[in-house]
């Protein structure tokens, strides 16, 4: 799973701006010009991409793999704010605000990312309205998603939150009712503000009640309708 191959160790390959997704909104010149501000980086599991409190001088654009964005207070528990997969930006808000990273980010599996200098993104926003609009739309969706999480966390109790988690992986990440997460129980727990013990117990209840099938990190949803109901009524 975490075996490194030679390619994984190369950091700073020749960058290529993807043709698809948001970058299709760039002109040939903009593409060429931003290239100077981009570095390709490869990370393996546990590699830190950036650390909270550091100046937010780069935005990461994930091309493959998965990244977790989290906050770790000095003494207290780790909170995972969100995950980011291929096609998603990491730390955009921190860079736009021209401040420091307010979170840390690390790779949860082998991950490739374009590290784009913040100033390059900021000037693109000022110059290319369509690009700005699309980026804006993404950040707006992020706000809505985080707000949903806030609500989930404050009103739902564990079964509801675990159901949310399962649905999140199924619908937003893997687009399948049968998936294998690259995260430990501990990390799954951090994602929904609980402890690994409580998460394990709740997952087991789900299994006993035939809502899911589970071996190790593989989860298969058996009763999506019941999961949905749990998500609803918390």
């Amino acid at each position: 799973m975490s075996k490194r191959n030679y390619r994984d160790l190369i950091k700073g390959n020749v960058p290529v701006i993807p043709e698809e997704g948001i970058f299709r909104l760039l002109s040939t010149e903009e593409r060429a010009s931003i290239l100077k501000s981009v570095t390709v980086m490869n990370f393996s599991r546990h590699d830190i991409i950036f650390r909270q409190l550091m100046p937010a001088d780069h935005v990461a654009y994930v091309t493959s793999g998965m990244v977790k964005i989290y906050r770790s207070g000095r003494s207290s528990r780790v909170v995972c704010i969100t995950l980011a997969g291929p096609g998603q930006f990491v730390a955009l808000p921190c860079a736009i605000d021209q401040g420091e990273y307010r979170f840390s980010a690390s790779a949860v599996e082998s991950t490739e990312a374009l590290m784009i200098r913040s100033d390059a993104i900021i000037s693109l926003i000022a110059e290319n309205g369509r690009f700005a609009g699309e980026l804006f739309k993404r950040v707006s969706r992020d706000i809505i998603e985080i707000s949903d999480k806030l609500v989930s966390l404050s009103v739902k109790q564990l079964p509801g939150r675990v159901a949310d988690l399962i649905r999140y992986f199924s619908e937003d990440v893997y687009n399948s009712d049968d998936f294998t997460v690259p995260l430990t129980r501990q990390e799954l727990a951090e994602l929904i503000g609980t402890t690994k013990e409580s998460l394990i117990r709740t997952l087991n209840e789900f299994r006993n009640d035939k809502l899911i099938e589970m071996e190790g990190r593989r989860i298969k949803i058996l009763a999506p309708d019941l999961i949905d109901i749990l998500c609803e009524l918390g």
Copy 2:
């Protein structure tokens, strides 16, 4: 406090785009053009500004008063996502995403707001890079603020969250250590994901421990340093 005067009842006055704040980034023509898409509205306490699930066809820009943005599930508790005061936009992300309102918003005190048609904001973003940049910065700060709240909610227990709340009013809203909130205990509780009873008990502990002075809705911070410590260690 909540006495209405004649002006409060007028809805749809002649709109004027403020000279200060973010609108200074608009050209004279842009100002004139957006004017056609703006309506001034006056709301009194409890007036709904918009309701979740409705099409997000307007953004509100608060010119005076205070608005709460909240989510209310069918059966469950109300969660207050955030408050917005003068100079702040409400529902920007929902409008940018061109979807529906994902929250409801209502006035907690007499409030005046410019209701700006979403399409007008969206075309301004595409056309005016500086304006887009500034708006972007605001939304980015909102994301960071909400993430902080998410962390607060998942790791801190009540005393820490109440301390957060007090500091929020003192530093972010009123810029004073002596302020009067326009919210009921219930609403304060919804802001930090707890119940009115628990909030009251915690506030009383704070009073007994001489952290604050309190009569009714007026709060005076006596020991800001201790409040800060509570915010830190949750």
